[in-house]
Symmetry: C2
Subunit: 282 residues, 2 copies
Amino acid sequence: MSQSHLKLVSRVRCFDGEQRRYEHLSEALNCTMQFSVFLPAQALRDEPVASVLWLSGLTCTDENFSSKSGAQRTAAQLGLALIIPDTSPRGDDVADDDAYDFGKGAGFYVNATQQPWAKHYQMYDYICKELIDLVCRSLPLNGQMSISGHSMGGHGALVMALRETDRFASVSAFAPIAHPSECPWGNKAFTGYLGDNREHWHAYDAVELIRSGQNCPPLLVDQGSDDNFLAEQLNFSTLREVADEFKLVAELRMQQGYDHSYYFIASFIEDHLKFHKSYLKG
Amino acid sequence: MSQSHLKLVSRVRCFDGEQRRYEHLSEALNCTMQFSVFLPAQALRDEPVASVLWLSGLTCTDENFSSKSGAQRTAAQLGLALIIPDTSPRGDDVADDDAYDFGKGAGFYVNATQQPWAKHYQMYDYICKELIDLVCRSLPLNGQMSISGHSMGGHGALVMALRETDRFASVSAFAPIAHPSECPWGNKAFTGYLGDNREHWHAYDAVELIRSGQNCPPLLVDQGSDDNFLAEQLNFSTLREVADEFKLVAELRMQQGYDHSYYFIASFIEDHLKFHKSYLKG
């Protein structure tokens, strides 16, 4: 399998489109990776469509969002493709940790600089440099792309949108880890992957990137008020403060009674896809 | 825990309603059971609502449909509750089999007469006599109910609708095992649970019940043309023939390219719930 080769693992009819799973050898990650794609009917007729890149949370693979979000229904209606990567490098020779919040399933969308992680844990470059290029070359996509994600993936979506200027038409997140330098999940992951120097953490911290003056595409965030992780891990109010202070084009919504689960995502994914569609051409 | 007592195991906000899981001691099954319920916002305000009873397929628990079908979105829109039982008795002292298509996760919605199954495998009575009564007494339901299901659960839905005259306003199924007496899955299960006398199988065979002249409420069936089990297990064309012959109020649709998975169910569950809503009062 060459590095640019996509192997189709499965394809299933879904809302008149197709839910597919692909495998490929990643140069950035030094391992074989799988990711999922939803293609709406238009794309199956080889009409290039815009897409939304979805980044998943801790412990997920590409399959959680694919099977639980119900996003394909709205994506089919709007003629959007969904690109759904895995959350870390995979394989028997990839370093791992027993905890659910570090190692496999917990790549935190950074380029690791510390050992033994640096060899494989290059998730930022994998997604921003390798995967986006690969899917835009290989699938019927028009190159127009927005980005969204949940929890750790909401962090990843915010960071990529703030750093990759002009790449994403819009960005959204569900319960993002908005300020990872200042929460236990982020502290642990950044210390492990990036080392003790907190200066190096700021390139992967949405709140710090906004404070540094980075441009942000139009932003939508939903946060459940009954989310068990809200108080300790997510820093929603800090994100709101910096979004106000730096006058981002942003809507940050507190959703009463919702938790951190896929039932929360399923309830609002239609809003997010319609938000992205309004900024995507084609 | 008394036999009429419902213990709330979890509740999660979902589409402005609640996805709940309950536990109770089942008299019919002689074991502790869990089931899931979706209550729309109206029911949370104690306005009694109509409901759809969903029966799941082989290997499922109450969680597969809950997390993968996306049904809550349409149920919330229509003000319908969803009642989602497990597929077999559960617990360490319940007889089991190594195969995926017999024993736990594969109760086939029959009252077993053979040993060692008869003590616990009374799924027909559990659902029709015990569970429906329990939820109608304990939850804000108005008693109006329709029934639906997938594969083994489609079989269960058809059989219950044909036998429990006037209980269900309408019935639907996704890829049902329509004629279990004449397919390998049904043959194995019915031999094991009911014994060798095929006369005893007909009370649990939708095609045979239609042939015997049982009334059927309005019926909707979706079947995927790329379903791996279509040719050997499902007998869709026989169901279509007897539905025609006995002039049922029925629509049986072959959906091109769809398979047996929850992506198929997710694609058409909105149609099914709207179909049921048109026959349900309140």
